[in-house]
């Protein structure tokens, strides 16, 4: 779960490559350095005693091994300290994971829950040690892994399904996307050109959303309500404004406009300091549907153009059927 939490925003490809090869690489390096040195000792330096010691008691292996190297007192202490600290961090992250799973995925649950699980883990470890030591521990893990393995197969199936639905949707969007612009009166194209050339600040975009987009969305909502649909608009403190049309059994429609920063053109030197970079950033008014940003900017558009775009997207939304198996965040 830790891996999931740190990987937000990565593409699947990056994720797989990173998760499969980075920790594995480290593990292999570790195994080679430790294992092969030990084997080298046994084979080349004739330290048969090491092999016997390992066979007798695996726990001592590391320390017997370190004994053969210089500074063994220091390294043994180091190793012990390492194990203790790993213990603490393992218990900590373990209790976090279990806590999240038992509270519906939230990471802000009260402290006593985590404390409970941390204690439970310690108790379980102690109990299993009493009941048969290492063997019992490993058995318990293998046993509980079996039903989970079945669950994992289901997870893969679910993932495949969701991804396929996404692919279908992307295709249909790609085909349907038309340049969104309403017919214009004279003088409007110059305004459009000017809008393209300008690089608006955050405040300008927020004003635009408030003064042009929000009323336009309101008009659409009113008209929809007059037609008997359940529609509403809203805005939040980040300057976003959206319209939502609820269809009951069918998927809902959701169209939102966000002020979003984008990187300045390449000839502007990028400043490494984050806050300065933010000040340099120019803003767009990006359209978002349920499944995320659509990648186009409506800054500077007239109200009638905005309304046309909303209607275009509304028309293009997927109907029910196959789409029903996806959560609302994907249905447009």
């Amino acid at each position: 779960m830790f891996i999931a939490r740190i990987s937000r925003g990565r593409t699947i490809r990056e994720f797989v490559v990173g998760v499969l090869f980075v920790p594995t690489g480290f593990t292999l390096v570790w195994m080679t350095f430790f294992g092969d040195t030990a084997l080298h000792m046994i084979l080349m330096q004739g330290l048969e005693g090491l092999a016997d010691a390992v066979a007798a008691d695996t726990a001592v292996a590391l320390f017997r091994f370190l004994e053969e190297l210089p500074l063994s007192a220091i390294t043994s202490v180091l190793a012990t300290v390492l194990v203790v600290t790993f213990f603490v961090t393992s218990s900590d992250s373990g209790s976090l994971v279990v806590d999240m799973l038992t509270s519906g995925g939230r990471d802000d649950s009260p402290v006593w829950q985590r404390v409970f699980w941390a204690v439970v883990e310690g108790v379980v470890a102690a109990a299993l040690l009493l009941a048969g030591g290492l063997e019992a521990l490993q058995t318990a893990t293998i046993a509980s892994a079996l039903p989970f393995a079945v669950v994992m197969v289901l997870m893969c199936w679910g993932l495949i399904r969701a991804l396929r639905i996404e692919a279908v949707k992307r295709q249909s969007l790609r085909v349907a996307r038309v340049a969104p612009l309403a017919p214009q009166s004279a003088g409007q194209w110059q305004a459009r050109l000017r809008a393209m050339m300008r690089q608006p600040s955050r405040a300008e975009v927020q004003d635009f959303v408030r003064q042009v987009v929000l009323p336009a969305l309101g008009e659409v909502a009113r008209e929809l309500q007059a037609q008997g649909r359940d529609a509403g608009i809203a805005r939040d403190e980040h300057g976003r404004a959206w319209i939502e049309v609820r269809h009951g059994a069918e998927p809902d429609f959701f169209y939102s406009v966000h002020p979003r920063p984008y990187d300045p053109p390449s000839f502007v030197l990028r400043d490494t300091s984050a806050s300065r970079a933010r000040a340099l950033k120019y803003y767009q008014a990006e359209v978002h549907l349920r499944e995320g940003g659509q990648g186009y900017d409506i800054m500077g558009w007239r109200a009638v153009d905005v309304i046309k775009d909303v209607l275009d997207q509304y028309e293009r939304r997927p109907a029910g059927g196959e789409m029903n198996r996806l959560p609302r965040s994907v249905r447009a």
């Binding site: 593409t11 920790p23 092969d36 590391l62 829950q113 058995t139 679910g158």
Partner: protein, 306 residues
């Protein structure tokens, strides 16, 4: 699903999952404590049974997961982001890699780092122990146990979790991955069951690594300070260390824990570098290359060898 009471103590749990997992876990514990010998025999028998009857399933499943993940990455689907389309990664490449490194390091590595290769060398599954060939094979087998197959499992779970919660805003639990299959029913008993399995797996998995760690610490202390290696000492150690961990959770020292794990990895790397420097350095670097090559080339055959 979750209850919130404004008065102390605040409760935010998913009742069925919380209670059932708790009950099942404590029941197992009570059984183990009350009748340790029966429990021990039972565990041994179960372990044997599972290996014999379900071993094929595990092997097939793991092979499947690995293939699944690789195919996904290589295909067009690989371009899909774990989050909304326009989102940027939370962490830079460097931080992300560092965190993956720290995920890779664990108590298991310390415990088995020396032991496993030597064990496979002394008593290899095929062939004669104690030869150079056995040594090479030992590393190959060790790599196999600790290599991509294990991580494929983590990758699948984490991928599903990340995809469904970041991109589709479902809860960050295992059950969300079943949404495309059973829709809103994930909030019902099936979802509960799924999450409970996940919880039990996690609890026992963490407890196992804690147990290993404690055995190792016991051995270490025995080595340094002549403290005897016995279950009693180990239980005492568990109590102490769990107390420390619990304290850190209770005091909200989460940031401290993260810094601690960074420290862990740094220390581990120091140890690693030390071994490299002090050991047969050139030999080690040569074998690293050779081991990797061996591992990669026999990946396929090892995967399906029961």
């Amino acid at each position: 699903m979750s209850e919130e009471t404004k008065s102390r103590p605040r409760i935010e749990i998913n009742p069925p999952v919380f209670i059932l997992s708790g009950v099942l876990t404590l029941a197992t514990v009570a059984f183990a404590v009350a009748a340790p010998d029966t429990a021990a025999t039972l565990f041994e028998a179960t372990s044997g049974w599972i290996t014999r009857s379900a071993g094929w399933f595990y092997v097939l499943a793991v092979a499947g997961f690995l293939t699944f993940v690789i195919v996904l990455a290589v295909s067009d689907y690989g371009r899909i982001k774990l989050g909304p389309d326009h989102s940027e990664p939370d962490y830079s490449y460097r931080s992300w890699f560092a965190m993956l490194f720290s995920a890779g390091m664990g108590i298991g590595l310390m415990f088995f780092g020396v032991a496993e290769p030597v064990m496979h060398y002394a008593t290899p599954p095929v062939g004669e122990g104690g030869t150079v060939a056995a040594a090479r094979d030992a590393m190959r087998i060790t790599f196999f146990h600790w290599g991509v197959h294990a991580w494929a499992i983590y990758a699948v779970v984490a991928l599903a979790l990340a995809y469904f919660s970041f991109r589709h805003e479902l809860p960050l639990t295992i059950r969300s991955a079943l949404y495309p299959l059973i829709g809103e029913r994930i909030h019902g008993p099936i979802g509960h069951a799924v999450d409970i399995f996940a919880v039990l797996g996690t609890i026992f998995g963490v407890a196992t690594s804690l147990g290993l760690g404690v055995i190792q610490v016991n051995a270490g202390l025995g080595h340094l300070l002549d403290i005897p290696a016995s279950v009693a000492v180990q239980v005492a150690l568990i109590a102490v260390i769990t107390a420390i961990a619990t304290l850190s959770v209770a005091l909200g020292l989460d940031a401290g824990i993260r810094r601690l794990s960074e420290f862990n990895v740094a220390l581990a790397v120091v140890l690693l570098a030390f071994v490299l420097a002090v050991g047969p350095t050139v030999f080690l670097l040569q074998t690293l290359v050779q081991n990797t090559g061996n591992y990669l080339s026999s990946l396929f055959s090892m995967t399906f060898n029961l």
